[in-house]
Symmetry: C2
Subunit: 178 residues, 2 copies
C-alpha cells in the first residue's frame, strides 16, 4: 500500500473519533505491537497525543526505554489482528508474523509502520510526568503517513469485552470549529 506524507495539522481528525490503534515499538532489535484504545488528542500543532499503556506490557518497557513509537490506525478488515494483538504478549509471540501484519521502516523512529493500516503516526514521548501514577505518556506526532485512496475509513471502536463498533457514515454539520 503506497503511503503519502500527511500534514501534521490535520492529524487530530484521524484520532478524535476514538479508533482502536495498533501501537508499534522497537527495542533492542525486537519490534512489537499492541492494541490501544485509551488515547486522546491534547494539542493541534504540533499534534500531541496522550495515551495509557499498561505497565505490565512488553510495549510499556519499550516505550519507556526508547521514548519512541508508531500509532497505526487499522480498518475493520484487520479485526482479527486487532483482537489477537490485544490478547497476546510480545514477550512470547512475534505478533507481526502470527497475525499476518506487514511492516515497513519508519522515517524518524525505529519502531516500524504497519503497512496494512491506512494511517501511521511516528511519535516520540515528550512528557512522562504521569507515567508513574497512570501509565500515561504524552506523545508528539513528528511524521504522519496516509493511504490516499482510503476516503471513508471503517475504523474499530471498542465498547468492551470484544464488542467493537464499526465506524458508520459521516455527516457534515455547519460548524466553525476546527
Amino acid at each position: 500500500m503506497a503511503k503519502r506524507a500527511y500534514p501534521l495539522p490535520k492529524v487530530y481528525g484521524l484520532l478524535e473519533p476514538g479508533p482502536v490503534l495498533l501501537l508499534t515499538t522497537s527495542h533492542d532489535g525486537h519490534a512489537n505491537v499492541m492494541t490501544l484504545s485509551w488515547h486522546t488528542m491534547m494539542e493541534f500543532e504540533p499534534p500531541l497525543v496522550g495515551c495509557v499503556v499498561s505497565g505490565r506490557s512488553f510495549s510499556f518497557e519499550a516505550l519507556q526505554a526508547t521514548r519512541q513509537c508508531v500509532l497505526n490506525i487499522p480498518g475493520v478488515e484487520l479485526k482479527a489482528a486487532v483482537v489477537g494483538c490485544g490478547n497476546s504478549s510480545g514477550r512470547r509471540v512475534d505478533k507481526f508474523k502470527t497475525f499476518g501484519l506487514t511492516t515497513m521502516p519508519a522515517e524518524l523512529v525505529e519502531a516500524p509502520l504497519i503497512a496494512d493500516c491506512y494511517a501511521n503516526l511516528e511519535c516520540r514521548v515528550i512528557d512522562a510526568r504521569l507515567v508513574n501514577r497512570y501509565n500515561f505518556f504524552v506523545l508528539e506526532v513528528i511524521k504522519a503517513w496516509i493511504d490516499p485512496t482510503c476516503k471513508d475509513p471503517r475504523t474499530l471502536h471498542h465498547r468492551g469485552r470484544g464488542v467493537f463498533m464499526v465506524a458508520g457514515d459521516s455527516i457534515k454539520l455547519p460548524s466553525k470549529m476546527r
Copy 2:
C-alpha cells in the same frame, strides 16, 4: 427519560469508543455546557477519565474553580446541540435554552445532568498536574446514569471541521480482554 444508576466498573465501555461529549459545569449559580472530543479512559476502577478543556473557555474557569463536572453522552439526534454548544460561549448565551437541552439535578455534584443524553457521568477532578501545560484534567467518575432502553447508541465521533462519523453497527469478536 428515566435513568438508572450504571455500575462504575462498566463506564469504560461508554467512553472507549471516543464519542463526542457534552461537558456540564455549575459555578456561582451559572450552569454551562460545552462540546468535548478530547478525552480518554485512564483507569477501570475507579473509572478515571483524562480530558483537555480549552483554557479560553467559560467551562475551564468553572472546572478549575469547582473541580466538578458531568460528562453527558449524546446520540446523533442531538447533533444540532452538539455543534451549537461547540460554536458558542456560556459567557454570552444560555446554551441549554438556546439549544433546547433539558437539565436534571445530579446526585453528587452541582453540575446538571442533561436529560436528553443517554448516559451521564458525575465527575470530580482528582489530578490537575497537567492543567498548566496542556489544560489536561484527570477526572474520577463517582456516579453514572444510563437510559436502560438505549441498547445501541448512535454516538457522534468528530473527524474535524464539522464532519462527524455516526456510530455504525457493533460486532462481537473472540477476545479475553476487558
